[in-house]
């Protein structure tokens, strides 16, 4: 899965967000019912059958994507709802109105002479009989059609909710196996639906907190290769690794800036942990905090102007916000508990955190100005939230027994759902959109 999806023009490609907003009916909890009849093809004969088969798989993947969200309710795709190629752009709205659908996804798959495929995707407001958006992609062979299908799901999700989608995103985490005393930890990367799972490190040394660069080409993580924890960078294409910094300081908690040019992290100087920022390519770190105590887990605001972090400078772990040059540091959490591992949402509206009390660790969110604190999980060993690109979902780790697992959590108040991964998992990080 690489630079295989090339966007092509299908003529006017306007996302009519005003129509989308009316379809979403903000404030109503009801999910939008969406119909996804089987994707068709202009091809005929054997090729046509092959394309219809692929289209059916893509249809089911789109339905599965949208079913994972709390905002969309896809009608189960039915092969009897087959439509012809011309009907892709001229659907029979009355039929879908009668079925109770508010929105409709149509599309086609067409084979190309160069062996690749053209994938077209269209989203309609059924009630108004109006197109909400369209997108076309040229995809290569193998499983590349999956990315096109995820992008089609994303087109529908964004057209209807107005929020960025998270179907064509990746998740990195630490895969765990072995006994509690000698955990084998490997960095794993997968598509957000669990597909394309692979390991980046061999498990011969402890690795922690992988964090993806904004475009997903590199990971910053903490490795014990040099005998102590230090921030390291791995290039996903070449698998080449290197330490971020020269020297042998203990450094940890790395996160990329939104533009990918800088990495903010913590570093020990004596018994003091402070926050530093360094060019993502390495170089001299600049110190941002100087208070005695432990300052760690920095996370940039989406515009790059601010950083949220945790500090125990006041006697207990609390959340602080500062400008990205280190100025104007101020505490934002006053809920009477301990607060840790903040992550700023991609839309800038919320900061997710881990709350520590004597009853355990739970996941919550708070506004960047310190208002509207909400606890979203029941614990007792929940930790390390990371936002989806939509800013409407989180991924976190939940400890159970000797290990931990990854869970997805929607902000709508529904129960967290465990993700299917091959082994135990911790320290998840959800990427932004890949392109």
């Amino acid at each position: 899965m690489t630079q295989l999806v090339v966007r092509i023009s299908l003529g006017i490609a306007g996302l009519l967000l005003s129509a989308a907003a009316s379809a979403a009916q903000p404030g109503t909890p009801a999910a939008t019912v969406i119909a996804i009849p089987p994707i068709t093809t202009p091809d005929t004969g054997v090729k046509g059958n092959e394309m219809l088969g692929l289209g059916w798989q893509a249809t089911q993947l789109i339905a599965a994507d949208l079913r994972q969200t709390s905002e969309m309710m896809p009608l189960p795709p039915n092969r009897k709802d087959y439509y012809s190629y011309p009907e892709v752009t001229a659907p029979t709205f009355s039929k879908w109105r009668a079925a109770g659908a508010k929105a409709l996804v149509t599309g086609f798959v067409q084979s190309r002479s160069d062996g690749r495929l053209t994938f077209g995707c269209y989203v309609y407001d059924v009630e108004k009989g109006r197109e909400l958006g369209r997108k076309g992609f040229i995809v290569g062979g193998g499983d590349d059609w999956r990315r096109a299908a995820h992008k089609c799901s994303g087109l529908a999700y964004t057209a209807i909710t107005g929020a960025p989608s998270m179907f064509d995103t990746r998740i990195t985490y630490v895969a765990e196996s072995g006994s509690p005393d000698a955990r084998v930890k490997r960095i794993a990367v997968m598509d957000s639906d669990g597909y394309n799972h692979s390991y980046l490190t061999a498990g011969d040394t402890i690795v922690l907190t992988p964090r993806m660069s904004p475009k997903g080409g590199r990971l910053a993580y903490v490795g014990f290769t040099g005998g102590k924890p230090e921030v390291r960078i791995v290039d996903l294409a070449s698998s080449q690794q290197r330490p971020l910094l020269d020297g042998d300081s203990i450094s940890f908690a790395p996160r990329y800036s939104p533009d990918g040019t800088r990495i903010v992290f913590s570093m020990m100087l004596g018994a003091n942990s402070d926050i530093y920022v360094a060019p993502a390519t390495g170089g001299i770190p600049q110190r941002l905090t100087t208070s005695p105590g432990i300052d760690t887990d920095p996370s940039f605001s989406p515009d790059g102007s601010k950083i949220v972090f945790e500090s125990d400078r006041g006697g207990s772990q609390q959340l602080y916000v500062m400008n990205s040059d280190g100025s104007n540091q101020r505490r934002i959490s006053f809920g009477g508990a301990w607060y840790a591992s903040p992550d700023w949402s991609p839309d800038g509206e919320w900061i997710a955190f881990t709350q520590r009390t004597t009853a355990g660790r739970r996941i919550g969110i708070i506004k960047p100005d310190g208002t509207d604190e909400k606890i979203l999980t029941s614990g007792p060993a929940d930790e390390g939230p990371s936002w989806a690109a939509s800013s409407r979902e989180l991924i976190f780790q939940r400890g159970a027994g000797n290990g931990s697992a990854l869970f997805r959590l929607s902000l709508d108040g529904s129960e967290p759902r465990q993700m299917s991964i091959p082994q135990g998992g911790s320290d998840p990080d959800w990427s932004g959109l890949m392109d």
Binding site: L208, G227, K228, I250, S266, M268, I294, R356, E383
Partner: protein
């Protein structure tokens, strides 16, 4: 590698022990000591003389209490007698902590031990620190590990 000879009774019985041997000439009736050489022998001796290689902390802090200081005092005495030995002080955080705060807390505990040993006279060049965070479950602690 003269330390390798610590536990070789032959060297003692033959009367070839020179002044550089720091192990006192003990009664020959001891049970046969396990055959340890090099760093293993030094580690065993360090454990025996210091009582333990581990000091413990209270939850969520890095303050050394009187029992921990007594252990470190014994460790310092041994290290002063073995200036060629380098140790790595490994700090641990607690499992109930969050990942990165536990890493920092482990590093802070290791640093407190290092500072205490330096104040007891151990040359800083003999001491390095690292943190396991919460990767090795157990009580909040710092372990002094002989490296060479």
């Amino acid at each position: 590698m003269r330390k390798a000879l610590f536990f070789l009774p032959l060297a003692l019985l033959a009367g070839t022990a020179s002044a550089q041997f720091r192990v006192p000439l003990l009664a020959p009736r001891q049970p046969p000591a396990p055959v340890l050489t090099g760093i293993d022998a030094l580690r065993a001796d360090f454990q025996a003389k210091s009582g333990t290689d581990t000091v413990y902390f209270g939850a969520d802090n890095a303050q050394l209490g009187p029992p921990a200081r007594a252990v470190l005092h014994a460790q310092a005495l041994w290290l002063l007698q073995h200036p060629e030995v380098v140790v790595r002080i490994e700090g641990h955080g607690e499992v109930a902590d969050t990942r990165d705060h536990a890493l920092a807390m482990g590093a802070k505990r290791a640093e407190e031990v290092r500072t205490a040993l330096v104040l007891m006279g151990v040359p800083a060049a003999q001491l390095t620190t690292m943190s396991w965070g919460k990767e090795r479950p157990g009580a909040p602690r710092a372990v002094t590990v002989l490296v060479r």
